[in-house]
């Protein structure tokens, strides 16, 4: 298992796997019963637990050929529903370091960003082609490059997009927002002194 993301996230390389379907919600990524924990540590084994149970070994996350994959290829509105960060945590602890799909639910996207996991978008037809390529050859190595904004193997190259803000945060290693937010503590204090509802609805 590679280390979790840390610092600059510029290029994610590795093999890929795909989860097909629109509107895959976070209840499916990590069912609620696994949220009964005070640490994220054990979630890697539980990712897609019910879907995997149903497919009895045939689920992509159980197939031997995908076991070392680090790039997940998905379709539209991936990660909708519950805000549970347990979902990207489970994916990350299984080994996922980047997600490429048609679109992502906003909270899921933000949760991934907070872990240093880029969620890059490509057009629906492109995603289908990438999924077919991944399914056809699980050994193929891919690289998601946040500088050139491409997902490429030695045989193909696809353009991907990430909004400028999140992309810059990843490339500069500032995706962990806590320290930036704390740098502005005095501005927070100033704002608190102005906000009507914190000042009996009058300014001082």
């Amino acid at each position: 298992m590679f280390a979790f993301p840390n610092g600059v996230v510029q290029k994610i390389s590795g093999t890929a796997l795909m989860i097909q379907g629109e509107d895959i919600d976070t209840d499916r990524i990590i069912p609620a019963r696994f949220l009964k924990c005070v640490s994220f540590d054990a979630l890697g084994d539980q990712v897609f637990a019910d879907d995997r149970l149903e497919l009895a070994g045939d689920h992509p996350f159980d197939q031997e050929r995908f076991k070392d994959a680090s790039i997940l290829i998905v379709n539209g509105n991936f990660g909708c529903g519950s805000s549970r960060e347990h979902a990207p945590q489970a994916l990350m602890r299984w080994g996922i370091r980047a997600v490429v799909g048609v679109s992502f639910a906003e909270i899921f996207f933000g949760n991934c960003l907070a872990l240093g996991i880029p969620c890059a978008s490509a057009l629906p037809d492109q995603i289908l082609a990438i999924q077919a390529a991944v399914n056809g050859d699980a050994t193929r190595h891919w690289a998601l490059d946040l500088e050139g904004m491409t997902l490429a193997s030695d045989q193909e190259r696809w353009d991907v997009t990430i909004d400028a803000g999140p992309r810059d945060m990843l490339r500069s290693g500032r995706w962990d927002a806590t320290s930036q937010l704390l740098d502005n503590s005095s501005k927070v204090e100033g704002l608190m002194n102005r906000l009507p509802y914190l000042n009996n609805f009058a300014t001082r």
């Binding site: 379907g21 629109e22 509107d23 919600d25 209840d27 499916r28 069912p31 609620a32 019963r33 949220l35 009964k36 924990c37 005070v38 640490s39 019910d50 149970l53 149903e54 539209g76 509105n77 909708c80 529903g81 519950s82 805000s83 549970r84 960060e85 679109s103 639910a105 906003e106 909270i107 933000g110 949760n111 907070a114 872990l115 400028a164 803000g165 999140p166 810059d168 945060m169 500069s172 500032r174 962990d176 927002a177 806590t178 930036q180 937010l181 704390l182 502005n184 503590s185 501005k187 927070v188 704002l191 608190m192 906000l195 009507p196 509802y197 914190l198 009996n200 609805f201 009058a202 300014t203």
Partner: protein, 495 residues
Amino acid sequence: MPSTIYACAFCPSRKVIVIAAALLSSGTLYDKVWDLHRVADLPGGSTQLFVGLHLVHEVTSPQAFSGLRDKGLTVACPERTVATVDHIVPTTSQARPFADPLAEEMLSTLERNCAESGIALNGIGTGRQGIVHVIAPELGLSQPGMTVACGDSHTSTHGAFGAIAFGIGTSQVRDVLASQSLAMNKLKVRRILVNGHLSAGVSAKDLILHVIRTLGVKGGVGYAYEFSGSAIEALSMEERMTLCNMAIEGGARCGYVNPDQITFDYLKGRPHAPCGAAWDAAVDWWRSLATDTKAVVDDEVVFDATVIAPTVTWGITPGQGLGIDECVPSLTMLNPGERPIATEAYRYMDLQPGTPIAGVPIDVCFIGSCTNGRLSDLRAAAAVARGRHVATGVKAFVVPGSEQVARAAEAEGLDQVFCAAGFEWREPGCSMCLAMNPDRLEGRQISASSSNRNFKGRQGSANGRTLLMSPAMVVAAAVHGRVTDVRTLALHPAS
């Protein structure tokens, strides 16, 4: 620049000039509240947004507190964070320790974290415990013009007050604890304009299921939904909460209603609402936050409330809804993009195209959740249950949204109505909305549920099935053992 003169709350004789927020940034409520809470522009283009009210529960906070400790940080503004326990609490016996050691560990961890950080915890038996999105409004914590964040997607509920309220992940909970702020990107605003009025027997739940069905579960991604129009203005606060609660099911991270007299009347006298001179100043300020009549929104979709019927979901996303008189759609009736998940829904739900939704047999009836677990929801349900009885073989239970809701309902005798009708009356919590406590479906059971999500496996069984509907419709389903148009019951009440 024009200004509004308020009396200072501390010395009423001295006038203090406050520039009304409306004049700082003419536009939508979303724009105004956003601008008021903007701390700084962060490198990379996001905005540091101050969080006026941070709500915490036991499921998404333990790792946030751990993360805070790992970084050597403490809670910046413990007085701006309020905690409760809701997801994992049993609804039968709530005696400690809980029978489930994992649930007990989660609550004791929350208790320890709150005690160490000086955060108020509304625990079991305090009279203030309940689902986080039920207790914050009833305590008067949720107010117009605030930013409200919680590690829970249904935080959109608090937008009912004219707040910007949104769910966050655990890393962001840590950020709020550390800094009382968040790195956020501004959303666009889509006005959901609902003209006319809802018909008798049609509720806010039906309205939001109708909106989601129309715009899709990803239609709102990138948007805040501003609900407005005559049908919205006529809704009570609790109905507005139901509406905003499910904005996220349509992909919109927040939904809101502009504050008006109904909002103010609801807030007045609540424990954390302003009082005395501050009340009048607050109402003036709140009024100034409403979207200006000439404000430009990014998008607008118009609905006619009068055509909306009681609405029930048939599939595995909240967007797969049907009017009670409709049938499960065939693939040809759907957009190509909707067909794969519809195909999966036919299989998972074991419902075939052309099947009328009315008449689908149900096994379990659940009334509760942050969507529909408030007093008015229980009143609406009890009005249908009164004098009737749950059908043989159906398990039915009512889980009040909070201790306050439970005690108020008991004072009105609603618990007796439910019990006489064959429902179980439980203690407050999230319960079978997401089944993190012992309340869950078994096997392929199918539920009629007043909750918000019909995802595969959502209610605790990997192949359990959920039909979302209003509380009154849940009772109608319970009484007949199958999905039933509540309006037919209302027209022919049992004697």
